[in-house]
Symmetry: C2
Subunit: 219 residues, 2 copies
DNA sequence: TAAAAAGTTTAGACGAGTCTAAAAAATTAT
DNA sequence: ATAATTTTTTAGACTCGTCTAAACTTTTTA
């Protein structure tokens, strides 16, 4: 059984390692968790003792099979709760993250099973991120950042990256971008990477490079 | 802002003091919280410093106005979550307590407001206990333990006391007692306090004194 | 009403999680 | 390839919530 803090570290390491595909440095974890490197060192020793990560002094940590499983379970809970908040309680997609950060730590497999059923076994959360199934399997199709779409075609919004800032989500709502929106790429500015798009064939807007990196669309 | 532990102590003190109407001794709190008296002494000093209780050495604690408000807010959350689990997720009434003990600590006034609305502003939880409104007001009609009903009339089940044991709830389900059930009192045994009742005009059973003390009915 | 019992508090310790400051290792720059 | 810089770890300390053992206060009993 993991403590709340251990769960948060494990989840951060999972995300920083891109789902376990690369190793993660102490300072990266410290940044992500808003703690000091010394605290991270202490914690990775504990997670390593529990076989959830492997830790090599001065060279960072790698997540183990079991660590991945545990992390995916937490992420599953987080995304199911976000889905609940938006679909059932009418939260806005920019209001759910902090609450789900708390709810994801509730310990009750039965609760999650029943919540999943209540929500009709959703496959993605309100930001388009896939919800791991109860075995930790993620079903995702191909998706690429808007800024990397070649040429001037029309694409569909599949997901948006959230990080910390709900203000990005508010911005997207304001300009009319949502999961499922159709974006026609009209023009790309070489000098700053900004893109002109037409949203749902109605509204023309410019989005910055920064923004277009965080809008994931059909390839 | 209270810690999880402080919230649990405050809630225990609220319940032990019958909603603030009497003072509570250190040992009673220790029993209720399954800790040692020494730990209670430490904690009541902290809650007292926060003006949630008044503490007089060797003479126990009394809950303050603010303490009552905070305790009622936690109880409100607990009972709303229990209602959610039963009404929306199809939990059984004997499965909800432990999960609600966790959920009651989630910090988000917006969540509770929306949950309340989603549940259609329920006035009682699955065990018949009143849900304080957002101002901490409790709307309860008169209710008395089954064992104290005078004579042999027919009464309606309004609530059941839960304490720790879900086995009492399982027992009640098994014999057919639920919130709203009609109980006709057929006979009372002097020697052991047991009562013979007819449930919903269908099923005759004997219930022990112990059980009849924890079934609350219309007067 | 004095002695015994019961209940409560204090003192000191411990684990979890965090921090700062200093030491050690790795990286980079000259 | 050695010096300077950056990163990481260690050491020691602090808070929170807990404990045991001992001291103290209140209540009960004889």
């Amino acid at each position: 059984m993991l403590s709340l803090t251990e769960e948060n570290y494990l989840k951060a390491i999972y995300h920083l390692s891109d789902g376990g595909s690369k190793s993660v440095l102490t300072n990266e974890v410290a940044d992500a968790m808003s703690t000091k490197p010394a605290s991270v060192t202490d914690m990775v020793k504990k997670l390593s003792a529990k076989k959830l990560i492997t830790y090599e002094k001065y060279y960072g940590v790698t997540i183990t099979k079991q660590g991945k499983t545990d992390a995916l379970n937490i992420i599953r809970k987080h995304r199911l709760w976000e889905t609940f908040l938006v679909q059932k309680l009418n939260f806005h997609w920019d209001q759910v993250h902090e609450v789900a950060e708390q709810l994801e730590h509730i310990q009750s497999p039965l609760l999650i099973e029943k919540l999943d059923e209540f929500l009709n076994f959703p496959v993605a959360d309100p930001h388009g991120h896939p919800i791991p199934d109860k075995n930790g399997k993620i079903h995702t199709g191909q998706q690429i950042p808007l800024c990397e779409v070649p040429g001037k075609k029309t694409v569909t919004v599949l997901a948006v990256n959230v990080k910390e800032s709900s203000s990005f989500l508010q911005y997207l709502s304001k300009i009319g971008v949502y999961i499922g929106a159709k974006l026609a790429i009209l023009d790309k500015a070489e000098f700053d990477g900004s893109i002109e798009i037409m949203i749902d064939g109605k509204k023309k807007v410019f989005v910055s490079k920064e923004a277009s990196q965080n809008i994931l669309v059909t390839p």
